[in-house]
Symmetry: C2
Subunit: 303 residues, 2 copies
C-alpha cells in the first residue's frame, strides 16, 4: 500500500477514486439519518444499496430524488423482523458485502446475526466493536475498542480486539501500527484483574504473535496521545503521543472516552461489528448522519 | 449560600473576596510548577504557605521575588521523608488546614497519610480522589470521581465518593446537585458487577440517604452532559445534559474521560484526596501549574 489514510475525508476520497462499489444490505432503512448516510455513500460511489424494509413507513420519500437510482434497490418487506432476516440472508448468501442496521431494535438484528444456522458469526469468533475516531487536533485517525459490545473483555476477547484493530490499521496503510493498552497509570498494579491480561498480551507480542507492530502498556491517555504531556511523565514508550490503536480496559472506559470527545472536542466516530463473516454497520440513534456515513466507509475498506 | 460558583475563575475570585486565608503545608515544594501554583495562591489571598523541604534544591529561588513574604514561611528540612512527615504533622496538629504534595514520591506521602498513629485518615473513612473539571462549552464545573485512587470501587466506596462529591457541590452553592451514575448505556445489565452497586445506591437515594439531590443511572455521557445528544436517545432522565457530578464505574474510565478532554477539549481539572481529616492536594507531574492552583483553590473551599 502506497498511501496512508489519516482522516475520514481521505478514506472516502480513496474509496471514491477506486470506484469499487460494495453491496450493502440495509435492514429497514426508513429513518432519515440512515437513508441519508446510505444515499451519500451511493452518490460517492462507495456502495450499491439494497434497502430492505417497510417502504410505506419511509419518513421522507423525497430523499430519493436526484440520487443515482441505478445503484439503489428498494425491496419492500413490511414486517421489520422479516426484513432483518432477509438482509442477513443476502449477506450470508454472498448477495451483499456489508450488513447495516436501519430502524431495527439492536436486539432483533443481533439475534439474527448470532443465529447458529442462518447468522453471520462463525463458531469460535469473537464478536466485538471496532471503531475509528477522528479527533480534531490529533494528527491521524485512531482505532479503539470496544465501546459498545463486550462489557468486560477476557484475555481471548482482548486479543481478538487487538487483531481486528491491527487488520484495520494495515488496511489504512499504517505499516507498523502503534498499540496502546490503556490504563489510568503506567504502573502495572497486579491486583487489578485486567492487568494480568495486559502483561500476557505484551508477552505474546514480544514473541511475535501480533506481527510487526509496536505495543506498550499499561500506559495512560497522555502517553498514548500527547507527546508533550506524555513526555513530562518521563516514562519511555515507543508509542509516545502517536498511538494508532487504543485498547481500553472495558467498554465503560472506551465509551466515556469517545462520548466526551464527541461532545466537547468535535470528534467523529465510524464503527462496526467485527468477528462476523462480513462487516456489520450497527450505529445507534445518537450517532450523527456523518458518523453513519463514516461507518459505511469503514465497512467498505474492511470488507 | 447566595451565589453559585460555576467556573474556577469564579471560585478563585470568591476566595479572594472573602480574604480568609487557609494555611497550606507543602511537602518539599522545590519544583517550579508546585512553587508557582502556591505563590499564585498566596498572591490571590487564598493561602498562607508553609514550604517544608530541601531549600537548597529549589530550582529557581528567583521565583520568590515580588511575592507577599509575610504569608510565605520557608522551613528547611533537607531530607524529603522528614519534610513530608513534618508537613503531615503540621496538619495533624492543627497548624495547617491543607496538605500539599511537592516533589515527593506519591508512595512516600501516602504512607505518611495512611500511618495509623501519625497519619490523616480516620479509621473507617474511605480515601478517594474527588475532582472538579472545567470543560470549555460545558456550562458549569462538573465534579467527578474517582480518576486516581480506587481502581475498582466497591459499593461502600462508591457511596463515600458520592457523598464527598455532594458536599463539594453544596459548597459551590449548587442546592440540588444532579448526580449521574455513568455507564456505557442506560441499560442496566445485571451481569456487570458494578450494576448491582448502582441499583442499590439508587434505592438508597430514593429512601433519602443522600439528601435533597437528583440522581439517575445507569446513564451515558451523552445523557449526562449533552441535552441534544441525550434527547435523541429518548430516555427520560432528570439529569439530561445538566449533570453536576459524574460517578464512573472505575478509575480507568474516569481517567480516560478527563485525560481525553484535557488534551483535546482544553479541559482543566482541580482535584484532591478526600476522606482525610483535612484536604490533601496530590497532583501529578503532568498536571499543569493551573491545575495545581485550581486544586489548591478547591482545597480552600472544602477545608
Amino acid at each position: 500500500m502506497s498511501t496512508i489514510i489519516s482522516s475520514f475525508a481521505e478514506l472516502t476520497a480513496h474509496l471514491a477514486s477506486i470506484n469499487n462499489r460494495k453491496r450493502i444490505a440495509v435492514a429497514n432503512a426508513v429513518d432519515p439519518h440512515t437513508l441519508e448516510a446510505v444515499l451519500k455513500a451511493v452518490d460517492m460511489k462507495l456502495v450499491e444499496a439494497f434497502l430492505i424494509g417497510d417502504v410505506a413507513s419511509i419518513e421522507s420519500p423525497a430523499l430519493f430524488e436526484d440520487h443515482d437510482s441505478a445503484h439503489i434497490h428498494i425491496i419492500d418487506v413490511p414486517e421489520v423482523n422479516e426484513a432483518t432476516l432477509e438482509a442477513v440472508r443476502m449477506v450470508k448468501d454472498g448477495q451483499a458485502d456489508i450488513l447495516m442496521k436501519g430502524l431495527v431494535n439492536t436486539d432483533v438484528i443481533l439475534r439474527a446475526i448470532l443465529d447458529k444456522e442462518k447468522g453471520l458469526l462463525p463458531t469460535g469468533k469473537v464478536l466485538t466493536y471496532n471503531a475509528a475516531l477522528e479527533i480534531p487536533n490529533y494528527h491521524k485517525l485512531v482505532f479503539f475498542s470496544d465501546p459498545a459490545v463486550i462489557p468486560s473483555p477476557n484475555r481471548e476477547q482482548r486479543i481478538a480486539m487487538i487483531k481486528y484493530a491491527i487488520d484495520s490499521a494495515l488496511k489504512f496503510g499504517i505499516e507498523h501500527p502503534k498499540i496502546a493498552l490503556i490504563h489510568a497509570t503506567e504502573k502495572a498494579n497486579p491486583k487489578i484483574q485486567y492487568m494480568q491480561d495486559y502483561l500476557d498480551i505484551l508477552q505474546k507480542w514480544r514473541m511475535g504473535a501480533f506481527g510487526d507492530v509496536v505495543m506498550d502498556g499499561p500506559i495512560d491517555i497522555f502517553l498514548a496521545l500527547d507527546k508533550e504531556l506524555g513526555s513530562i511523565k518521563n516514562v519511555p514508550t515507543p508509542v509516545l503521543g502517536d498511538a494508532d490503536i487504543l485498547i481500553f480496559t472495558d467498554f465503560a472506559a472506551a465509551n466515556a472516552f469517545y462520548k466526551g470527545l464527541r461532545i466537547f472536542a468535535g470528534a467523529e466516530m465510524g464503527g462496526l461489528l467485527q468477528g462476523t463473516e462480513k462487516p456489520v454497520v450497527l450505529t445507534s440513534r445518537s450517532d450523527s448522519e456523518l458518523s453513519k456515513f463514516y461507518s459505511i466507509a469503514l465497512a467498505c475498506i474492511l470488507s
